[in-house]
């Protein structure tokens, strides 16, 4: 009886034998920006008004510009160039909320899209946890 079960199991296993093969595929984007590839990365407002958070805002903007360039699909208008263009036209990116201002930004910079980012949360915390007590070979408790 046991032999029969074993043989049946082997037959089932053999008949169901499979192996996995991995391949790489390209996945499309969720939004199509193929015709909009000139990006302005807007300055990011810090989560709080302190040097640390200001530094984080700059780091985020720089990281975004770098990662956009890495794709080879986007042209990023760097902050320095953007600021000089805005200063030339006596404009401030942070004040651009209306449709007209955004269109004006496009005309000045030749950008096709504007990337705005907001820091919703930037928190650091430390938690101390203590494991079970143990006694070393000298009898001391830790």
């Amino acid at each position: 009886m046991n032999h029969f079960v074993l043989i049946s199991a082997v037959i089932i296993l053999v008949s169901c034998a499979t192996t996995n093969i991995n391949t790489t595929v390209v996945r499309p984007t969720e939004i199509n920006l193929s015709n909009r590839n000139r990006v302005v990365v807007a300055e990011i407002t810090p989560a709080l008004d302190s040097l640390k958070y200001q530094k984080h805002s700059v780091q985020i903007a720089n990281q975004l510009s770098a990662i956009l360039l890495e794709t080879n699909r986007f042209e990023v208008i760097d902050q320095e160039h953007l600021n000089s263009l805005l200063a030339e036209h006596k404009l401030k990116l942070s004040g651009m909320v209306g449709n007209e201002s955004i269109t004006q930004l496009g005309n000045i910079t030749g950008a096709t899209v504007l990337l705005y980012s907001y820091i919703d949360r930037d928190e650091y915390s430390e938690t101390k946890t203590q494991g079970n007590k143990w006694i070393d070979k000298n009898g001391y408790e830790h």
Partner: protein, 178 residues
């Protein structure tokens, strides 16, 4: 532990249309200990950088085509060494060779329908790897006709249907893959 959450908004400059708004969050932590069990000093800035990298990686997938791994199930027939040769070819990326090996195997006389279905299904898998999804689909459909009991085949049909959709979307986005 560092927690970071960023919202991204992309606006079309010509039309002022909001194209997308997405919020991503990430957390990074360090639990490294010294030999005596005390915690090592934590560099909060490196945790911030780690969280930022996680978020930007997610964000870029939203706006730029990206590579992903696809795991395909290949059926093995213990008594057929040709199948193993085909697997070897596929693992080396030589899909055309794998397809010819499988097609030659299919011409063997007196083959039962279940084995035929396996080989045809495997040709379909090789075609998926080749990116020829329409042929892959026809192979999977034929495998189902030959052996409707095998649950792998309908799954392969679903997988290839998804790949066809993805390929169409990529074409719309002017992304040309090899």
């Amino acid at each position: 532990m560092h927690k970071l959450e960023i919202t991204f908004k992309i606006i079309d400059v010509e039309t002022s249309e909001l194209l997308t708004i997405k919020t991503y969050s990430a957390k990074s932590e360090s639990t490294k200990l010294k030999d005596n069990g005390d915690p090592l000093p934590i560099d909060s800035e490196s945790l911030f950088s780690e969280s930022l990298q996680k978020i930007t990686k997610k964000f870029i997938k939203h706006i730029s085509p990206h590579k992903a791994k696809l795991s395909l199930v290949f059926e093995v027939e213990m008594e057929m060494s040709e199948i193993y040769n085909a697997i070897e070819c596929l693992r080396k990326g030589n899909t055309q060779n794998a397809i010819s090996i499988l097609q030659t195997t299919l011409e063997k006389p007196n083959m039962d329908t279940i084995t035929q279905a396996k080989i045809i299904y495997n040709i379909g898998i090789a075609e998926v790897m080749n990116g020829i999804y329409e042929i892959a689909m026809s192979k999977f459909e034929r495998a189902i006709k030959l052996n409707p009991e095998n649950g792998l085949y309908p799954k392969a049909v679903k997988l290839v249907a998804k790949e066809i959709q993805a390929a169409q979307k990529l074409a719309e986005q002017n992304v040309h893959t090899e």
